[in-house]
């Protein structure tokens, strides 16, 4: 049987990949996708825990996370589109009117 630690390590790695993606990618949409990756790695963790603990709460939580991720996607894309309309770019390096 695959031990819990493998799941946890995998999800931790996925999470880290997501974080690195957020830190390195320039396209707002890809950054957002990286965040989705982070969320999904968390889902993996939750499911793993849920399974190993024999407790359904974790899985329940996963559903909520997925739902919220969906809502986030909707709102996030809307925001990106609104921005794109005004600025014609989704490169987050160029979105720096507000600073200091």
């Amino acid at each position: 049987m695959v031990s819990l630690n493998f799941y946890l390590s995998l999800s931790a790695m996925l999470f880290t990949i997501g974080v690195v993606g957020v830190l390195t990618r320039r396209n707002a949409i890809i950054v957002f996708m990286s965040i989705e990756l982070m969320l999904n790695s968390v889902n993996l963790t939750l499911v793993a825990f849920s399974s190993f603990l024999g407790d359904a709460t974790g899985q329940m939580l996963v559903f909520f996370v997925i739902t919220i991720a969906a809502a986030e996607a909707a709102i996030g894309l809307a925001i990106i589109i609104a921005l794109f309309r005004n600025k014609q770019t989704v490169n987050i390096d160029e979105i720096n009117l507000l600073k200091w």
Binding site: V22, L23, V31, I92, D93, I95, N96, L97, K99, W100
Partner: protein
């Protein structure tokens, strides 16, 4: 009658208040003058009455303290407005109110037409009030009130003609220099309070009288008090203010800077005679300082050409004399000289005032001469004053000066005596140099034509006081005819109870009548006469001699005529460094530079940190995310590995 002593003090204050508060509305010089003079006059009359009552009392019963109301009381300190009426204070009161009254009257004539007439009389009355507090106080604190009060009036009156810059300078100088002395005085008071727990004369002298001679604390107390006296009575090294003080109206010089205020130091030392008697070291210092001052001032007076300056230095010199007397333990003699000096110095100043008045505010004696014929009354009275100060019998100055010389001799210090005698000779010389240059010989001013001066005799309000003072200058000394001349030293007997404790401690040998006394008397008269003769010879008959001397010893002459450069020295050594140091080092350096520098620097620092710190906020999302990651890494490490 003793109870009325408060009224004696209060009357001049009322006069001052009336003239000061409503005087500028009255505008009538007569009313102002009468209010001013009458209040002092009444005070004089009252003090005469008290004096008479005192004479009627038993000798042991003559002193009395009249307590009016509490002044400053806190903790262990209790002081009141309480007046001590005794032989010493009543004598001083008589002099102050008497001479003061005469000078008030004189001033009515002298100040005629001055726009500040009311102000003048107000100040003058205030002065009398303060001076009476000084001499009548029953404790050191009230004495200090008078002490500072007279200083204030002196300040006000020196700077009376305030439009001129130098009067302001002189006034300020007088006040500040006096304050330096007062600083010592204050320390003295503190020491007294710490030592005796009271500032009241009687209890503290009583306590002191059982202490042993030469206790260090007594030395310090007396020395500190003496510093105060040095300031007020213009002794070395604080005499510099007095000559400048002549910037004030001449009657003021007569009253304050000759007859009364400047002798306050002498009075104070005499009042604390018990303490001084216990501190022989201080007494020596007093004597030496007194003599040095006397000599120094006399030498300066030799070369001065301003009539008032000569008199001013003469005053300084005479004050030195008085301190010399105190220094050898002859307290009553010091007071005696205060008393005679008040008459003839007031007379001389008032006389000089009449001259200045007549000469339309010309004060240079080189531009006078021959005034005898223009103003005979002034001349005669002035001459009497000059003779009196020179020490020619039977005028007042002779007796007091002679007593001083006698005491100095008996004190055993020949050197002191020699210098004192030389000073007496110098005094006679410069006084008659003054008389000669002013009144004798030919006029050295334009008598006719354009810009001519027409000297004229002063009005009666001025001459009458002169005459009265002249009479007093003659007979005033007769209360102290020495035993050698068959007198009874009435004043010594009168004052004896006041100095009883001091005398007991000092245990001065009661010198009887010796041959040496006659020799001394003759010598001193001879020296005085010689001084007079030389002055007359040099300045009347052979004016080339002093000129020649001045040329021959031009260095000495220059030093003397520049008053030993003391003012310049003080300026260079104390005043300028203080002002410059305060401005450059303290204010611009420490205050603005360092302290504000730090304060503003801190503010600047925060601002700079802020200015550059905000740049971290780059505006790019990923920059922020990086910060987050660093943060979370830190938190994880903190929570897991600490």
């Amino acid at each position: 009658m003793y109870n009325l002593i408060g009224l004696v003090v209060l009357l001049p204050l009322i006069g001052a208040a009336v003239n000061g508060l409503v005087g500028w509305r009255i505008k009538n010089e007569k009313v102002i003058g009468i209010v001013g003079s009458a209040t002092v006059g009444f005070s004089f009359v009252l003090s005469v009455l008290i004096f008479i009552e005192m004479l009627g009392r038993d000798v042991l019963n003559r002193a009395e303290v009249i307590d009016y109301f509490r002044w400053i009381g806190a903790g262990g300190l209790e002081t009141s407005f309480a007046y001590q009426v005794d032989q010493l204070s009543i004598l001083m009161t008589l002099v102050v109110t008497g001479v003061g009254f005469l000078i008030h009257v004189y001033s009515i004539g002298y100040m005629h037409g001055d726009p500040g007439f009311w102000r003048y009389f107000s100040y003058l009355n205030l002065f009398i009030f303060a001076m009476l507090n000084l001499v009548l106080a029953d404790n050191f604190l009230l004495l200090f009130l008078g002490w500072e009060g007279v200083g204030l009036c002196s300040y006000l009156l020196i700077g009376f003609w305030y439009e001129k810059k130098f009067t302001g300078d002189a006034a300020k100088k007088a006040f500040v220099v006096n304050r330096i002395g007062d600083f010592g005085f204050l320390i003295g008071l503190f020491l007294i309070f710490v030592t005796f727990g009271t500032l009241k004369f009687e209890p503290l002298f009583l306590q002191a009288s059982v202490m042993s001679v030469g206790e260090p604390v007594l030395f310090w107390i007396t020395l500190m008090l003496f510093i105060g006296a040095v300031g007020k009575s213009a002794q070395i090294p604080l005499f510099v203010w007095l000559p400048d003080a002549m910037a004030g109206p001449t009657p003021v010089s007569a009253l304050i800077h000759a007859a009364t205020m400047v002798t306050a130091g002498v009075y104070m030392v005499a009042r604390s005679a018990t303490l001084y008697a216990l501190a022989p070291l201080t007494l020596e210092i007093v004597a030496v300082i007194g003599l040095l001052t006397a000599v120094l001032a006399a030498t300066i007076a030799l070369t001065q050409n301003d009539i008032k300056k000569v008199l001013a230095y003469s005053t300084v010199s005479q004050l030195g004399y008085m301190f010399l007397a105190l220094g050898v333990g002859a307290f009553w003699v010091g007071i005696f000289h205060v008393y005679t000096h008040a008459f003839f110095k007031a007379l001389l100043f008032l006389g000089s005032g009449a001259v200045i008045h007549a000469m339309h505010h010309e004060q240079d004696i080189q531009k006078m001469g021959g005034l005898r014929k223009y103003m005979p009354k002034t001349y005669i009275t002035f001459l009497i004053g000059a003779i009196a100060i020179s020490g020619i019998p039977p005028l007042a100055g002779f007796f007091s000066k002679d007593e001083i010389l006698a005491y100095v001799w008996h004190d055993g210090s020949v050197l002191l005596w020699v210098f004192a005698a030389i000073t007496a000779g110098l005094t006679a010389f410069y006084m008659f140099r003054l008389v000669t240059l002013t009144f004798w010989g030919d006029p050295r001013f334009k008598e006719h034509g354009e810009h001519a001066k027409h000297p004229h005799e002063a009005p009666a309000t001025m001459t009458v006081p002169l005459i009265i003072l002249a009479v007093l200058s003659i007979i005033g000394g007769w209360v102290g005819i020495p035993k050698a001349l068959g007198g009874g030293l009435a004043i010594k007997q009168f004052l004896a109870p006041v100095f009883e404790r001091a005398d007991r401690i000092m245990a001065l040998p009661e010198h009887g009548v010796h041959a040496v006394d006659y020799v001394l008397i003759l010598l001193s008269v001879a020296i005085a006469a010689a001084g007079i003769y030389v002055a007359r010879l040099w300045y009347l008959k052979k004016p080339e001699i002093p000129g020649g001397l001045a040329k021959k010893y031009s260095g000495v002459y220059k030093v003397l005529s520049n008053k030993y450069y003391v003012d310049e020295l003080y300026d260079a050594a104390i005043v300028n460094p203080t002002v410059k140091g305060s401005r450059k080092l303290l204010w611009r350096g420490i205050d603005v530079g360092i302290i504000d520098g730090i304060v503003n620097g801190l503010a600047k620092l925060v601002e700079i940190v802020s200015k550059y710190g905000r740049l971290v906020q780059v505006g790019v999302v990923q920059g922020y995310a990086v910060a987050f990651v660093f943060g979370i890494v830190f938190i994880i490490f903190w929570l897991l590995f600490r």
